[in-house]
Symmetry: C2
Amino acid sequence: MPVRPPATGEDPRIVRSRAIILAAAHDHFVAHGYLGANIDALAEEAGVSKRTVYNIYGGKEELFRAVLDRAIGIAEEFSRELADAMATVGLEGLAVRLVRVLLSDRVVPLRRLLIGESRRFPELAAAYYDRAPGLVMRTLAEHLPTLPGLRIDDPDTAAAHFAFLVVGAPLDRAMFGEQRLGDTELERAALAGVAAFRRAYAAAGNGP
Amino acid sequence: MPVRPPATGEDPRIVRSRAIILAAAHDHFVAHGYLGANIDALAEEAGVSKRTVYNIYGGKEELFRAVLDRAIGIAEEFSRELADAMATVGLEGLAVRLVRVLLSDRVVPLRRLLIGESRRFPELAAAYYDRAPGLVMRTLAEHLPTLPGLRIDDPDTAAAHFAFLVVGAPLDRAMFGEQRLGDTELERAALAGVAAFRRAYAAAGNGP
DNA sequence: CCTACCGATCGGTAGG
DNA sequence: CCTACCGATCGGTAGG
């Protein structure tokens, strides 16, 4: 998935520089934001000259978009893996995976960046939402009604309830940089969320 | 040049300018972020000279902190009002108020700004979290066990579950700038969250 | 001659 | 309060 059309053949030096710059730019933009990013520093961190950055990516904004296109693509892949996992693992397994991915050092800083730049780059924030959390939520909405022991009248609402019972509180805390929970506590919180979900959506028991 | 004596705080012109600048700066920082903010533009929007801004607030960072100190104080007030309302309105009434406040044009942009600047100003993001959502959550944890018809074993977890069942999905969407739900849909989503919470934490019915 | 790259520097802007 | 202006910084580019 070439972010830019292969303007000049497939010179392995360019291919290599492109990947190196993209990785360094990701870290740099995540650390400093769009305006706070410095192409000189970024290029130095990537170990290439600034000119190379401009030759390959054209400019700061284009580089930023390339970085986020890739990051959103990766987030989409993770989301698809989560979606695939629904068929094989139970709700508890899904919850633990969900919380691990969303509270990871890959996702939290990316979400911070996209939220912080959502006025400057609204399409990027929207694309992320649609292709990552939105994808998970849509798949959940399809999957939940097929599970035994649950009664799901409104799949979209149930999917949102599951997701935010599992990750809501720790994720919101993390967005503000509050101390991240340890893995054990995260898992505990995720399972407590699943338990609450199962009680709320149990097939038997409390009829309408 | 700035020969103004430190006997500030009494001069009504300063008091007035201070308030005008603070309000204009709030809008400006929320719209552009910290680095994107422009003191010349901000001063013009406030209708004062740039020099006045520096006379009163000293600099960009000090002005930013003053703006956010005030905004966090206001968010804390709202949270305290929500806390007070718990004694008089039911869970449904509380949920509707919660969703209205958190999804408002006052709170969503403030949260975006604080999250976006949470690396540059970690104490501000932490202060907001502690004094606004944290305060609501702590009060909820105290309040929920006193309500009839519910069985609350772990008040902190139950408080988090209530809050994120009610506002989780629409708030997360809103952070990424996705189209805000209408008041009717928001209220509907909030009440669906309360209904799920009541099922999950019903005192009678589904034993283990 | 071309592509990739570097050292050096310019035009424009922002905080102060 | 305004204009003018500084020291510094930064995105982007020309020469080699």
